[in-house]
């Protein structure tokens, strides 16, 4: 208060200085009171102005339907067509390699075993020459034994995410085959149907 009064005196100048001290004190106090009040009022205004305008992001969900082909349609798919050859070139021969390995299982009633590596490799290459001659290089069969855990985590992760999407009926499912290319270490989704 004392400091404000001094300021006021300086501000008021010679006109007020002529008036007696008691009046001056009274006047200055009134003015200061007024200032304080104005401050309070001003503060209120500020708090009102800084209040955030409430915004809410409204997402509207859209209902959609997708139709999937059966397993039979995928097996009948013509992977030798010139149109698919372009996709094979871009994404790698994984789809055809998987077909060869599945056929090995159907014939041998087992999967390639590291204990009979050389023997199984000859059988795999024979199947390759029979059903997909010229589509898959020999080097593609370098890693076909047992299951490599990081790849299991990737394919298993994708598969379980699809299961959760299907059960919760939320988000667009991948239609309809997911493949993992070991050369680029990339997974990709192919739409495969006859």
């Amino acid at each position: 208060m004392g400091h404000a009064r001094l300021q006021f005196r300086r501000f008021a100048g010679p006109r007020i200085r002529r008036v007696s001290d008691s009046i001056l004190t009274l006047v200055s106090d009134i003015i200061i009171f007024h200032f304080v009040r104005r401050d309070v009022v001003k503060h209120k205004v500020i708090s009102k102005g800084s209040e955030k305008v409430k915004t809410e992001i409204v997402t509207s969900s859209v209902k959609r339907t997708l139709t999937f082909p059966a397993m039979e349609a995928v097996l009948k798919f013509d992977y030798k067509s010139p149109e698919f050859a372009r996709r094979l070139k871009r994404n790698g021969p994984t789809f055809v390699v998987v077909k060869i390995l599945q056929r090995f299982r159907d014939i041998e009633k087992r999967d390639p075993n590291p204990k009979s590596r050389d023997e199984d490799m000859i059988k795999l290459l024979a199947i390759r020459d029979e059903i997909a001659s010229g589509l898959v290089p020999d080097t593609a069969f370098a890693h076909v034994f047992a299951q490599i855990s990081p790849v299991a985590a990737i394919v298993g992760g994708e598969l379980s995410q699809e299961i959760i999407k299907a059960v919760s009926q939320k988000e667009t499912p991948n239609r309809n085959v997911f493949l993992f290319n070991p050369d680029t270490c990339c997974g990709f989704v192919e739409s495969i149907e006859a």
């Binding site: 969900s61 859209v62 209902k63 959609r64 339907t65 997708l66 139709t67 999937f68 059966a70 397993m71 039979e72 995928v74 097996l75 994984t94 789809f95 390699v97 998987v98 390995l101 056929r103 299982r105 159907d106 009633k109 999967d111 593609a140 890693h143 076909v144 034994f145 047992a146 299951q147 490599i148 855990s149 790849v151 299991a152 990737i154 394919v155 298993g156 992760g157 994708e158 598969l159 379980s160 995410q161 699809e162 299961i163 959760i164 999407k165 299907a166 059960v167 919760s168 009926q169 939320k170 988000e171 667009t172 499912p173 239609r175 309809n176 085959v177 997911f178 493949l179 993992f180 070991p182």
Partner: protein
């Protein structure tokens, strides 16, 4: 349909699944809570799928496998202990699978999935078939189509893997 399931989560479930409810919403979690899943073929890929599904909090998971644990399983099948070579793969996976989430019912089936009757698949909402022959895959897919069950297949040889999805006519929101 994409309608409400009408099932309420318990307080304990809401607490455990809190973070995934934030991710995909309460309604999704309720639907997941009601799902009965069959996972046939408990190799490394099957174990990964089973782990993720059990953690997500479904109603029940049936682990179906007639194969025995072999040394090649130790590359990636993290459910089976090394001492279990020679025992049934689904049975050997039970203890560690259940430890992930005690709130999910885990059922062990030691029979071959390709020898199951058509009715067997009708009791599930989702059927996942791993490590099966082509003939079995086609048959089970057709059975699932006739019973309106979501069908999934997948496999992994070394580093070559695939997953196949058949949801027939699937309604969803995005």
């Amino acid at each position: 349909m994409v309608e409400n399931s009408g099932m309420e989560l318990t307080e304990q479930e809401t607490e455990l699944y809190d973070r995934q409810i934030r991710l995909w919403g309460l309604e999704s979690q309720k639907r997941i809570r009601g799902a009965r899943i069959l996972i046939a073929g408990l190799n490394g890929l099957g174990a990964e799928v089973a782990k993720n599904i059990i953690l997500s909090g479904v109603k029940s998971v049936t682990l179906c496998d007639d194969r025995i644990v072999s040394e090649t399983d130790f590359c990636s099948q993290f459910f089976v202990p090394h001492s279990s070579v020679g025992s049934n793969r689904a049975e050997a996976s039970l203890v560690r699978a259940q430890a992930l989430n005690p709130m999910v019912e885990i059922i062990i089936d030691k029979e071959n999935v390709s020898e199951k009757s058509d009715e067997y698949f009708g009791q599930f909402d989702v059927v996942v078939v791993i490590e099966a022959g082509t003939e079995a895959l086609v048959r089970i897919d057709n059975v699932c189509r006739s019973k309106n069950v979501k069908f999934f297949a997948g496999d992994l040889w070394g580093m070559h893997g695939y997953s196949f999805v058949d949801l027939q006519d699937h309604e969803y929101v995005e």
